[in-house]
Symmetry: C2
Subunit: 268 residues, 2 copies
């Protein structure tokens, strides 16, 4: 198989990574995509590093068997905890992760060097965004806020709801009083409430990790002359380790298109 | 060991069952209690029946080794899906579960025979409360409402918060328009927002599964002459399969006392 025609492999602990797939389909409409969501073992957030590394290894082996040309870690927890493990397994294959892509974009976007991050409790506690930003630009200051309710609210589908707005008014003020001019959406669920976030953070630049990740993938493929030049419709395949309640509904909301070619597969 | 001095074994998929432990310590202050919360594998809600039966079997074996005299299934999902498996493993030992206890109390409480149930999506979809109520009194009508946001809101600690009130005003009206006079709190987390639920369901009798379960345990022990008569302070032991973020804080809120004698143990 021509290297360029191989698929992009995207993985996440569950359904959230589909926002990255959505951004990839818009940014790179000629690329084939294989997605793996570990829905049987989600959430990874509360699991130990060893366990997350072990699960990630299984997923990477599965995607490598699917003949991919690039890997995307579309899960903040995996990126924070098992990023180097995944890179070691991938060898020379490029690996893009949501945290690195978000940090790159935030460092470019900020003018005053004050960057806010909203994320799940685990990602916040890992301090991974602060580390990634410090590696890129020492002068930036990062303030973080854990927002544990946003994922369940988004999965409930309350994307433009009074409850969501009120919840944001609880979570955002500690960041806004720190005079941030840039806010990283540090969870793959959050792009779905971007309009509401924009209203509640007027004037702050929002870094949408799904879009920045798609940009990073486009750059990595162009650099290596690996962009797909096919003119036929691309192939999208979705694998999950379990099909939980409401998966189709939630998945299609995240993906913004019908979720076809969905297969269940057991790992480990 | 004197049979009466043995502990009550209580188990749940996570932290929620601690509300049942709290009700037990208040209703039966002389009883020893052993708790197991499967925090490494929570939530059970999205898992298959086979998996839940297998996990429940491991937990029951563990509790039987702790020399208990009665088992309490303090988890609606386990009660709905693996109740008969647990009873088979327990042999002649009494087994009390939150669904049976809640159904008993609701059938006693209702005057007009219209009973509402709020619960997680899995418990709602299992239809277990409607079945349990039909077994007890055919003339009752049960209307259910899945409230997926309430568990994360309660774990966030927003027990008396505008977000919680607004969320209830979304979930409760479909039940209230059905003219229910009794509402079962069909999730072990919900007793923590009982004051707010009472305000938002004025005149409706609330069936608190933790209290009804403690009553059912008291009756079962009294019937079998197994009530503990010790005058020394009772012994409470808490086992979990993982100690996740914020476990101590959330656990103590549920238990309403310091969470001492906490041990981690791997099952399976």
């Amino acid at each position: 198989m021509n290297e360029k025609n191989k698929a992009i492999g995207v993985f996440d602990s569950g359904v959230g990574g589909l926002t990255v797939v959505r951004a990839l389909t818009e940014r790179l409409p000629c690329e084939n995509i294989v997605y793996f969501g570990d829905t049987a073992r989600v959430p990874y957030g509360v699991k130990s590093r060893n366990t997350i590394e072990q699960f990630s290894t299984q997923i990477v082996h599965f995607l490598l068997e699917q003949n991919v040309k690039l890997l995307v870690i579309a899960c903040n927890t995996i990126a924070a905890v098992a990023g180097s493990k995944v890179r070691a397994l991938a060898g020379t294959m490029p690996v893009i992760d949501v945290i690195g892509a978000g940090a790159d974009a935030a460092v470019c976007a900020t003018k005053n060097g004050q960057i806010g991050v909203i994320a799940t409790t685990t990602t916040t506690n890992s301090n991974a965004y602060a580390r990634a930003i410090a590696e890129r630009k020492k002068s930036c200051r990062v303030v973080s806020q854990a927002c544990p309710l946003l994922v369940p609210i988004i999965e409930e589908g309350w994307l433009d709801h009074a409850v969501t707005r009120l919840t944001l008014r609880e979570y955002l003020p500690p960041l806004l009083t720190e005079n941030i001019d840039t806010l990283i959406l540090g969870c793959t669920h959050y792009p779905l409430i971007k309009p509401l976030l924009a209203e509640e953070t007027q004037g702050v630049a929002l870094v949408d990790s799904s879009i920045t990740t798609a940009d990073a993938v486009a750059n990595a493929l162009a650099e290596r002359d690996l962009l797909n030049e096919q003119t036929t419709a691309p192939d999208y395949r979705f694998f999950v380790s379990d099909i939980p309640l409401r998966f189709q509904t939630i998945g299609e909301r995240f993906l913004n298109r019908p979720l076809e070619q969905l297969e269940m597969i057991a790992l480990g």
